[in-house]
Subunit: 163 residues, 2 copies
DNA sequence: ACCAGCCAGTTGCATGATCCGACTCACTAC
DNA sequence: GTAGTGAGTCGGATCATGCAACTGGCTGGT
């Protein structure tokens, strides 16, 4: 399963990627968001191998991203539903979708749209500073090791060994 | 390289995942955001195989996410810098980081923080509706095929070519 | 001149993951 | 009893990855 643990990396991104950085995980989640919950439907929709799908599903259930729930007995049949933890990844999907639309546009416009349920408005991902409220571009931001409360940006640049 | 093309999936998420859904891509990008730009530094920081790193870097350069730039001649040596397109993925990283912090917390609190360069404020990625300006939670949002407003599960399963 | 070291790779083999397609098994509907 | 459905399992071939050693320019020290 290539269950790689990015050893030595005390980084939440790395930990998140142990799950998400797997080719099928996000696609499976996407489908469960869209209402595809059953084994054969997922298999057909994704074009994934049955064996790999079995593995991924049970792994995602173990990790608490999906819930495996019987929807009938005799014979027992199951469906897979995203949990809160699983749904918490949807912003990641949104950003990916918007990024894909921007840099790999489909000929006839985006085949899917992301919209606000209530008013039907489109959504654009924004980064906003919690403190000053400014709208930020990616370059206005840095990821820093937390070691010190210091706000010296130079120190952050100088050091990466803690990360 | 596992350069899988999720055939039949006219979906921006799938297209984005052809790049991002690869175990190392996002970690490499993260490091370039943090100021790690050189081959050996990346290799040491990531624990990735040299061969795989070579492959990934040149692929990311081909895809326009990184720029390969000589920083000296004699001997020629190169560094890898994120392009605008590459930086545009940083919100994805932010979300992953926050998701990792929330569901796989480190014992002593998050080892890294995301902050605004200018004022040092923390950043929480948000999804905002372009139309009504409301802050949205994952459940306020849906991803819809653009063609038709509704589809039964069976129809969706039957057809992935629209998706 | 010689050796050590740095940097950015390349090469080769063993291992492990993935794909493909066929098979199972329980049950239902005709 | 024959066909169909849903959720898997199994086996062989292929592909990607990990590991570790090697190359090849160049610098700097002695």
């Amino acid at each position: 399963m290539l269950n790689r643990t990015y050893r030595d990396q005390a980084c939440s991104i790395a930990r998140a990627l142990e799950i998400v950085g797997e080719r099928w995980t996000l696609l499976i989640l996407r489908d469960t968001y869209r209402g595809i919950h059953r084994f054969d439907d997922l298999q057909a929709s994704l074009g994934i191998t049955r064996g790999v799908l079995t593995q991924r599903l049970s792994w995602l259930v173990d990790e608490g991203l999906l819930e495996r729930r019987p929807y009938q007995t005799n014979p027992e049949r199951f469906e897979y539903l995203p949990t809160t933890k699983g749904r918490a990844l949807s912003p990641v999907l949104m950003h990916l979708l918007l990024w894909g639309d921007r840099y790999y546009p489909s000929p006839g416009g985006p085949p899917q749209i992301v919209e606000h349920n209530e008013c039907g408005g489109r959504i654009t991902p924004q980064l906003t500073c919690d403190q000053c409220g400014q709208q930020l571009r990616p370059s206005d931001i840095s990821i820093r090791p937390r070691t010190k409360p210091a706000r010296s940006r130079r120190a952050a640049a100088r050091r990466a060994d803690v990360a």
